[in-house]
Symmetry: D2
Subunit: 135 residues, 4 copies
């Protein structure tokens, strides 16, 4: 899959006051993480051991909701309010870290949790990088 | 309209480590603010002076996305991770303050912006109250 | 809780080609149903019998997603494309009916499912009424 | 960008009653289309001719909301209710067709609309293919 995130940033008519490469990487990581978490919640619900996975399912759902909203706000880059972006990216770092830890703890048992933990770690890093770039 | 937020909190099978009244008020304020902002963005798009309202439209859309995600996360109160709730409520205080200021500045001209500014102020306060209750 | 849905419809600058009362009732029912379903999914996850409730949890999550998206689209009433509204309202009738049946089947055991089944039935009816009004 | 959609489908513990390849293609097209539409709405808001683009902005926002909700529901593939999937895919075909037409009509003038029209057409086709596979 190829997203059009970078093409859209390049054809945007207004100035964007942030590194476009890091912004594109963060947006793509956020939407990939959201999709993976929604899918992992469903896979966990299908496991026989679902009763042991309720914390993981909630973490997945929280992570999906926060990442999706943040991807949307970051995609409105022209109207760029650095305070809102910073607050949301901080929330993403927290929720991706938390979901990555939870999924990571079942990675040996459930392959979907291993894939999901990686998507969370990747997204957490991309959000940290963009936060550093915003300053 | 009567939401079932409080009934759902009262019938929840698990313990909830936060004041249920303040939680219900915050969730209801968040979903009302999200709906009002989505509607205000559309009303602004219908004004002849739309070219002067683009900042307001973006603020409306950001506010709707952040409030909706926060309402969802707060509704998963059992899995309560105080750090995630705090980060999201802080983002809501920022985005509702920003959108309330922007809509407030057109309140004399556009009645829909006056109604929306009130919904944002109301939501900002409910988020501050819940933040204080979480500690 | 009082939503501002009707106030926003009344202060909208453009013409709206549908009964405003039925539109407001449908939007409010959709956002109340979405919130109730998100909350019911979490309550089900907290039940000891969670392994017997996975179908209900999935129905809750699907219903929340579809109702939320439909409330947003209906709130952009000026740009009114009757085909899109019809397709979404039909999806809502299906998903609310399905979730209402599933929650209804546990209503005697779980009070949150009883409340949620009611919210689904109420939303299903509001969507049918709006569909009939659109023609 | 590489999504994990196919990896997640391959590691899902339950049976999936639909062609996994077509499902993955549709989910990826839906999330790419949603992101592109959110971005195109913002780019249109930045154009000097914004007053001529309000129909396009609304189509973009509707398309983003419907595609995002549909991607979520399709990702809960185990709980597969063919009626809900069909109703949502039909809504996607309608809204992607409508948004693709609108963006396509400005493609010569605005490069972001050209990119977005392509994402909509691609998503419309992926939804039609999955609809045909579900039967």
């Amino acid at each position: 899959m190829t997203t059009t995130t970078m093409s859209m940033l390049e054809t945007h008519p207004a100035e964007i006051n942030v590194d476009r490469g890091k912004l594109a990487v963060a947006i793509d990581a956020l939407i990939a993480c959201a999709e993976t978490c929604t899918s992992c919640a469903d896979a966990c619900l299908s496991e026989k051991s679902v009763a042991d996975l309720t914390k993981c399912i909630r973490a997945n759902m929280d992570c999906a909701d926060v990442c999706e909203a943040t991807a949307r706000v970051l995609s409105r880059h022209t109207g760029y309010d650095a305070n809102i972006s910073r607050a949301l990216l901080a929330a993403c770092v927290t929720v991706c870290g938390s979901c990555g830890d939870e999924c990571g703890s079942h990675a040996a048992m459930h392959e979907h949790c291993r894939v999901c933990a990686e998507a969370c770690r990747n997204c957490e890093q991309a959000c940290r990088d963009l936060l550093a770039a915003i300053g």
